[in-house]
């Protein structure tokens, strides 16, 4: 029963990841692509993490999986924000962001 | 197949097919369980891509990219040649060699990048003179 639930969650996660990738390929500009990627991919990651949580050997391992999800969320949000900011700056052609940037 | 196919051609093809198909008996796998590992041709293909990239690309940075890809292919070959241990863990000596290789490849890449940037600073070019003949690249 637990196994079937895991499989269902993983299938849903794959669906969300595919949706995010579809958005990446088909949406017109960077900002909307970031929107699709951060939302759909993070949800997909959360579902995948949940699926793995059901199979965790111990509470410590489950906590680690949860922490991984939170960190991936933070990293994804921060990098999405940074890319979007750079995009806006370039769109407005503000020249104060130097080229040798991360 | 029409009958005009020469005998030698089809005999050669069938021999080739048997050579390849015979290798598939053991199936794919992470190691050498059956004799054929998919990672051997993958590693060789990566080495091929890397070689082509280093020989044909114009910009120095692309050559460095290709160098890294080729290095990864060699590491893959290294590990694909060693069967996994009884508990599924790969050969520790190969792992240590690959770890060392990754770090040294990084050191070489970093030196190459620094040299490329210095060259760009001094000359404004991203290609070496002998590669500079052609269409815009970066």
């Amino acid at each position: 029963m637990l196994e079937a639930l895991s499989w269902l969650l993983l299938a849903l996660a794959a669906l969300f990841f595919s949706a995010g990738t579809l958005g990446l390929l088909r949406l017109p500009d960077t900002l909307s692509r970031i929107h699709a990627l951060t939302k759909a991919d993070n949800l997909g990651l959360g579902l995948a993490a949940l699926a793995l949580l059901l199979h965790a050997e111990s509470w410590a391992a489950a906590a680690q999986i949860g922490l991984i999800w939170l960190l991936a969320l933070a990293a994804s949000a921060a990098s999405g924000y940074l890319i979007a900011r750079r995009c806006l700056l370039e769109a407005h052609q503000v020249n104060h962001k130097p080229g040798a940037a991360p | 197949m029409n009958g005009a196919e020469s005998g030698t051609g089809s005999a050669g093809l069938s021999a080739l097919w048997e050579l390849l198909a015979g290798q598939f008996d053991g199936g794919f796998g992470g190691g050498f369980e059956g004799g054929f590992s998919i990672w051997l041709p993958t590693g060789s293909a990566l080495v091929l891509f890397g070689l082509l990239g280093m020989l044909l690309a114009a910009s120095i940075l692309r050559k460095l990219l290709a160098f890294n890809v080729m290095g990864s292919g060699i590491f893959l070959l290294l590990l694909a040649l060693r069967p996994t241990g009884p508990d599924g863990v790969a050969d520790p000596v190969a792992q240590a060699l690959i770890l060392t290789g990754i770090v040294i490849a990084l050191a070489a890449t970093a030196l190459g990048v620094r040299l490329a940037r210095r060259y760009f600073e001094l000359t404004g070019q991203t290609e070496l003179p002998e590669d500079r003949d052609t269409a815009r690249d970066d």
Partner: protein, 310 residues
Amino acid sequence: MIAADLLLALALLLLAAAALLARSVQIGSVLFIAFGLVLALVWVRLGAPDVALAEAAIGAGVAGALLLLAASEFESRRSGSASARAAGPRLPWPRPQRSRPRWVLGALALACAGLLLLAAQAIEPLAGAATEAVAHALPQAEIAHPVTAVLLSFRAYDTLLEIAVLLAAVVAVKAAPAPLQRPLPHDPVLARVTALTVPLALLVAVYLLWAGSSRSGGAFQAGAVLAGAVLLARFASLPLDPQSHLTRPPLLALGLAVFILIGLGAGALAGAALGYPAGWVKPLVLAIEAALMVSIAATLVALFGGGKAA
């Protein structure tokens, strides 16, 4: 498992080809980072988690970031020239306008790779010989994790030379004066996220160092995570500025120095260079690994170049 392996191999090859054929080196570098991550998955599939950690951190992360940084710098300085824009779609491969025969090179490369594949197929696998040898000698080495034992005990000389090579690379990189870095504008979101992430990264680095004695981990992976934390702090313009403190020569040379000192000193007690006296192995190896971690982190950060903000 066949399908998973096939998919991974296919993804690997596609990403490598895409990275090499990309429109610009920036795109190629990002694709290369993705390639590195898929390669890390392949390492896990092949049963090599240590290599997977190192590949993800060093191979994909540091190398990809270095290439991306350089590519962005080239791109931005070149974006002023109008002719670059007007030249139309940019091809990554040179057009055959010179007499250099491209197809000859291509055929040569193909022949080399084909020979390599044939030679690799012909090698008789020594079924588990090295694994068994290591497993035999492991209790004597008093280190629980085989890869760490190989790195720091059985083949410690290789690791010593590797650290020396890293030091040489850093010396060479520092010899070319770094271009002046304009200060990055302060970004509150990045600063806040970094303030949360950097301490966590430090914790992970120390954990990886500690875990290396009994599980996957070790000095290289820990050093890479530490370098990532320091670079993140620098990019976020945190008030600490650990980078300039970390990349001083004493810290860069610390790993090599400690390694040589302990290797020769303890070796004199144990009767062999780079050997350890029985019973003292764990603390000595940990001391060496700690020094290595600091040095590797300093080296990786120094390889990124660009010390003080102008």
